[in-house]
Symmetry: C2
Subunit: 210 residues, 2 copies
Amino acid sequence: MQIACFLFDGITALDIVGPYEVLQRLPEADVRFVAKQAGEIRTDNKFLALVADHGIDEITEPDIVVVPGGFATRALEHDEETLDWIRAVDANTTWTTSVCTGSMLLAAAGLLEGKEATSHWASLPRLADYGAIPTARRVVEQGKVITAAGVSSGIDMGLTLAAKIAGDEFAQAVQLGIEYDPQPPFDAGSVEKAPDQIVELLANMYAGRV
Amino acid sequence: MQIACFLFDGITALDIVGPYEVLQRLPEADVRFVAKQAGEIRTDNKFLALVADHGIDEITEPDIVVVPGGFATRALEHDEETLDWIRAVDANTTWTTSVCTGSMLLAAAGLLEGKEATSHWASLPRLADYGAIPTARRVVEQGKVITAAGVSSGIDMGLTLAAKIAGDEFAQAVQLGIEYDPQPPFDAGSVEKAPDQIVELLANMYAGRV
C-alpha cells in the first residue's frame, strides 16, 4: 500500500508528520515523501528540513495521498504543476486526504466541488471559492476524500483512516502505540473554545496568508 | 532563545515534531536541529529523513534542549558521546526536556536521579534502573527538567513549556494556531483506557526494545 506524503517549501511540519506517524504503522505501509523535485524541503520558518526522496514524476499511482498545509499553499493554489499532479494521482487513489490548508489545494484542483470539506479555521470560508461546502468539523469524510482541520488534526484523520483500512482494533493499537491520550493544558484549540481576543489576534495575523 | 532539537537515526518523528511545532512559535525562538553528525537522519522505519543542520560540536549552550525517543534510544543509553553532550548542555539550559523514551537518555546521563519522570508507557518502569521515580503522568515537571510520555505527548509538553516561557495567553494562541482541539476517534491512548488485549499485544511487541 503506497502512501504518498506531499511536501513543498513552506509546509507546516506537523501537518504531515501527524498522519504519517499513524499511517506508517499500517500493515504493508510503503510511505513515500514526494515533492515537485526530490531533495530537502524547508518548513514555514525554515528551521527544519524534511527530505523528499522522490519527485512527483516518480510517484504516479499511490494508494493514498496526503496533502498537508502551510502558508505556502496560498501560492500553490495557482501552481498548475502541483494541481495537475494532485488531479492525476487522485484518479487512481483509494483515499485522497488533506490536513489544514492542504484542502485548499484539493479544492483548487477541482476535487471538492459540491463536497463538504474542512481546513484550518482561518481559511475555511475560502473553500467556498472553489465550490466546496466549508464544514467546521475536525475530520470530514466524503467518499474517498477525507479533509482534516488545522495542523494537529491530521493525527485524528490518520486514526480515522487507519480504522477504515485495518479495523478499529488496529487503530486503537496505533493510538496506544503513539500514546495519543491528549491532555492539553488549556482548552483553546478551536475558535469556539478560545478567548475572543486570541481568535482576533490570530485572525489578523493570518489575514490574506491562509 | 536557542532551542536544540536532538536527532538520531531511528527516532520517532512525531516525538520531536510535536514539541517543535509548538516551541518554534515562541517569540525569538531560534530552533536548531542537531545530531552527532550533521546530515540526514532516518526515522525508525526509514521512510522519512529529517535534516540535522548541526553537529553536536556546534550546539553547546542551548537555552532549551528537547530529547525525543524511539527504539534507537535503547542503544544510545550506552553511547557516551550522546550522554556527554546531554550532560554538557544540561549544565547551562534553562529547560531540559524529553519526549517518549528520550527520558531514558536523560536518565542514563544521570539527570533524573531521585526525580519523578515519565516515558513511553512500555519503558516507564525501566527509569527506576537509573534511580528515577517512574511517574505515569503525561507531563512531569521537576524543576527545570520536563519529561513527557509517549510520542504524541510532546505537543502537551510543548504547550506546558510555552506557557511557562511566554504566558498562558500566548500558549493558548499557539494552541489555536495549531488547532489543537483533539478528537481521537477512539479512547485507547493509555494503558488505563485501551482494551487489555491491545495493551498485551503491544507490550509483547515492545518487549526488550524500549
